[in-house]
Symmetry: C2
Subunit: 439 residues, 2 copies
C-alpha cells in the first residue's frame, strides 16, 4: 500500500498523461485511502499507450518526462496491432525487470555453474531475453546465444559445449526434440537439466505442455509469465506452483464484463499495477490476459508465502463463446497435448456454419508414427475428449505431419473467421473486435 | 617486453600445452632476452588448437588449467574447418576483449547518447557481438538487437526508434541500403550517423567498400578487425588510419614462405601474440591473414602514437597465384567496388583451363538500373580494370541481379576449383590445401 501510494503520488506530480487521465475521471491521490480504493483509478488500455506513442513518438506516455538515459527497450510482439515501445533506464531494467526475472531463474535452480543457451533470436521482445540477461548479468553463468543456428547445429552444440539450461518457447523446444528424434539423437541424453520457457503459455498454464517437454528432454521444466508493459509477474517453483512478484506489481482479477473484482481465487481478467518502475509505470493496466485465479495467504511447500497465480487461460479475445459456452483456447491446447498420438502442431478456427451457427474446427497433425489407418479412431478420440472438457461438439480434422508452420517465437494457432458480431449478439463487440484484430 | 616476459613465464608454469610444445622445440623463457628473441618461440597453428580441442573437449589448450568460471565463449566461423571454441572469464572478456573493442567504438565517436542497432544475429561469433557488448556494458548506450528482423522491418525501426549507429557486415549493410532504395526510402535520410563494420574486410582494407557505404548511408564508416583467437587488433580513427591495440597484442609480419620478419612496413602474413589474456593466450599465433604492412613510430593527425595497420589483403589462402602473378581476393573486391555500375554481389572462381592453365572467373551482378544493352561494355570495363590492377587477364561474367546469395555474416565469395597442387607446382601445397579447405 505504501508503494502504491508513492507510485501514484509520483505520477500525479511527474506524468502529464496520468494527471490528465485521472483528472478526467475525477480521481486524485487523496482518494486512495485503502487498497480497495484502487478501483477508483481508471483502467489503462493498451490502445491508450499506442495512441500516445503515435502522438509523441517513440515512447509516448511510456516515458515519464525527464527520465533517462535509456539502455534497453522492450517491444510488444504486436499481435494485436502496432507494437508498443517500452524504454528502460538501467535502474528500471536491472533493478526491476531483470530482478523480477531473476526470481524465476533462481527458482528454476539456475546457478553460476550452468551453461545457458538462448534458443531464440534476440530482438527487443524481452520475454525471453531478460531471463538470459539475468543469467549473464546477475547470476554470472556462461551464456551462449545462437538464435540463428539451425536446429541440427544447435543439437550438436548442446552436446559439444556442455549446455545444461535451454531457454526458448515451448513450441520451439518441442520441435527441437522432434528434430533430434528424426536424426537419431535421444534428446534426453544431451545433458539438459533445466528448461525455462516463456513467450507462450507453458507448464504453469497448460500442464500437459510441461509433461511433454519433460518427457522429450528428460529435464525439469520451469515457466514464467508477464507482460512487456509491466513486469515478470509469476514463475514456477519446484512444487509447480506459480508465485507472483507481488512486491513489484499489484495484480487484480476482474470480471471481464463489469470490471468489478471477482471473489478471491476465481477466474477473470488480469489488471496489473506496476509498483516500482519509474520510467514507464502502468497503473491498472488491462493486460488482455484471462487468469484462472489468484490466491493470497497460503504458504507453498517450497516455503514461499507469495500470492499464487493459478495460471493463464488465454487472452480476453481467446475465450470463444460457442453456442453459449465459453471455450478457452488454452483449454483446447491442454486437451490435445494430453493425447499421446497428437504431435505438437495444431490450430483452431472459429467460423459460422451456413445456418449461422458458431463452429470450431480443430486441425491437428498426428505424430509421424501414427499409421493412417488409425487416423479415424484418433479423430474420434480427440473430438470425444474435447466434448468431455467443454460440453460442446467441435469438428476435428487431421492433417499430414509437416503441414502446419513451425513457430520459433509465439505460435499463432487461433483464427476467428466469424463476421464481427453486433452488441446484440452473444459475444460483446469489444471481445469480437479484439479476436478479429489478432487474426 | 615486460608484458611478453610475464605472459611467457605464466604459460611456462601453468600451461602443459605450451610447456610441451616449447620444450619440444628447445625454447625456454630464459632465451627471451630482447624482443627479437620472440622468433625463438615456435609458431602456433590453428590446426594445433583444433586438435587439442578434439583431444580435450570442449576447450583444449584454449583453457589454461584451473581458469574459470567462464561467462562467454567465442567460436571461429569455421570457414577453414571445425570451429575453435574460446572460453572467456569475466576478466578476459570485459577487461581485455571488450576493452580492445571499446577503442574502436570510442574512436568511431559512439557515446552514451547514441542508439545502437545490431543488424546481425547473435551467436558465439564475437566479431560484431563484442562491439555491441561494449556499447552495452562499457559505454552505456541504448542498444537494440534485431538480427532476425526482415530488412524492411529494420528500416522502419531505424526511423521509428531514432537509431544513430548501425553495426553489421559491409555486405549486409550495402544490401540493406539497396532494399531501402527498392522500397523508395533514401537510406541517407534515416538518421544514421555512424556505421561500424566487422566480420569481413571493410574500409581499412578495401577503401572502396567504405566509399560505397558512405554514399549509401550518408554516414561515417568505421571498421575494426581482429581474430577470435586473440583480440581486436586494429581499428580506424577519424583520419582513416588503422591503429593497433599494441599494448594488448604484439603483431609480427612475416614472410609467408620463410617465417622470417619482413622489413618494417612491408606486407606479409600476420602473427599475433596475446599479451594479456590469462585463459586462452595465443603465443605467436599464425592468423592466416595477409597484411599490407605495419608501421611503428608515427604520430597520426588524430594524435595517436600507436603502430599503424595498413590493412588486410586477405587470407593466406586468398592470394591466388595465377600464371606466376599473386592476385589477392581483397584486391579484386576493391576493383569491383570502384566501378559504379557494379552491384555489391559478386564472386570469383579459380579453375584450370582445358590446357591446364590457371584461370580466374569473376562473376558480377550489375546494378538493377544498368540496361542490359550496356552489359557488354561493362563487362569489358571490369576486365580492363582488373587487367590494369593485376597485369593478368581474368574472365568476367555478368549475372542477372539477384542471382547470387546475400550473406548476413561473412560472405563467401571465393571458390577454388583447381585440383590440389603438388609441391613442385607454383603454389605451395600448404597454401593450396588451405584454399581448398575454404571451399
Amino acid at each position: 500500500m505504501a508503494r502504491l501510494r508513492e507510485q501514484i503520488n509520483y505520477l500525479w506530480e511527474k506524468s502529464p498523461f496520468y494527471r490528465q487521465k485521472w483528472e478526467e475521471s475525477n480521481f486524485c491521490p487523496a482518494l486512495l485511502r485503502t487498497l480497495d480504493d484502487i478501483n477508483r483509478i481508471p483502467i489503462l488500455h493498451k490502445e491508450e499507450i499506442r495512441l500516445s506513442q503515435e502522438q509523441d513518438p517513440p515512447y509516448g506516455m511510456m516515458s515519464v518526462p525527464g527520465r533517462g538515459p535509456f539502455i534497453r527497450i522492450g517491444m510488444t510482439s504486436g499481435t494485436t496491432g502496432e507494437p508498443v515501445i517500452i524504454p528502460f533506464t538501467e535502474e528500471d531494467y536491472f533493478g526491476v525487470y531483470c530482478a523480477g526475472a531473476a526470481r524465476a531463474v533462481w527458482a528454476a535452480g539456475i546457478r553460476k555453474e550452468d551453461v545457458v543457451h538462448a534458443a531464440f533470436g534476440f530482438t527487443p521482445f524481452l520475454g525471453l531475453a531478460a531471463a538470459y540477461d539475468c543469467c549473464e548479468h546477475l547470476i554470472g553463468s556462461l551464456v551462449i546465444p545462437g538464435g540463428i543456428w539451425s536446429s541440427l547445429m544447435r543439437l550438436t552444440m548442446i552436446r559439444k559445449l556442455g549446455i545444461t539450461v535451454l531457454m526458448g518457447t515451448p513450441t520451439y523446444l518441442l520441435h527441437l526434440a522432434k528434430v533430434a528424434e528424426e536424426n537419431g539423437i535421444d534428446a534426453r541424453t544431451l545433458g539438459i537439466k533445466t528448461i525455462l520457457t516463456a513467450g507462450e503459455p507453458g507448464k504453469m498454464s497448460i500442464p500437459n505442455t510441461g509433461v511433454r517437454l519433460e518427457e522429450a528432454w528428460g529435464a525439469r521444466i520451469f515457466d514464467y509469465c508477464g507482460t512487456q508493459e509491466t513486469h515478470y509477474l509469476a514463475w514456477l517453483c519446484d512444487e509447480n506452483v506459480g508465485h507472483i512478484n507481488e512486491d513489484l506489481a499489484y495484480c487484480e482479477v476482474l470480471d471481464p464484463e463489469t470490471d468489478e473484482p471477482v471473489p478471491p481465487g476465481e477466474s477473470g481478467k488480469l489488471v496489473v499495477t506496476d509498483l516500482i518502475s519509474k520510467t514507464h509505470p502502468c497503473i491498472r493496466f488491462e493486460t488482455g490476459d484471462l487468469v484462472k485465479g489468484i490466491e493470497a495467504g497460503a504458504t507453498c511447500a517450497c516455503g514461499r508465502t507469495l500470492s499464487v497465480m493459478k495460471g493463464f487461460m488465454g487472452r480476453v479475445g481467446d475465450i470463444i463463446k460457442i453456442r453459449g459456452v465459453c471455450v478457452s483456447v488454452a483449454g483446447i491446447e491442454n486437451v490435445i497435448r494430453g493425447i499421446s498420438e497428437c504431435s505438437d502442431s495444431y490450430e483452431y478456427i472459429a467460423s459460422k456454419t451456413e445456418g449461422g451457427m458458431d463452429k470450431i474446427t480443430v486441425r491437428v497433425e498426428p505424430k509421424y508414427d501414427v499409421d493412417s489407418g488409425q487416423w479415424d479412431d484418433l479423430r474420434k478420440k480427440i473430438a470425444q475428449k474435447l466434448q468431455l472438457s467443454f460440453m460442446v461438439n467441435m469438428d476435428v480434422e487431421l492433417l499430414a505431419p509437416g503441414t502446419l508452420p513451425v513457430y520459433e517465437l509465439k505460435a499463432k494457432r487461433f483464427r476467428d473467421n466469424r463476421p464481427p458480431i453486433t452488441d446484440t449478439g452473444e459475444v460483446s463487440t469489444k471481445a469480437a473486435e479484439k479476436a478479429t484484430a489478432r487474426v
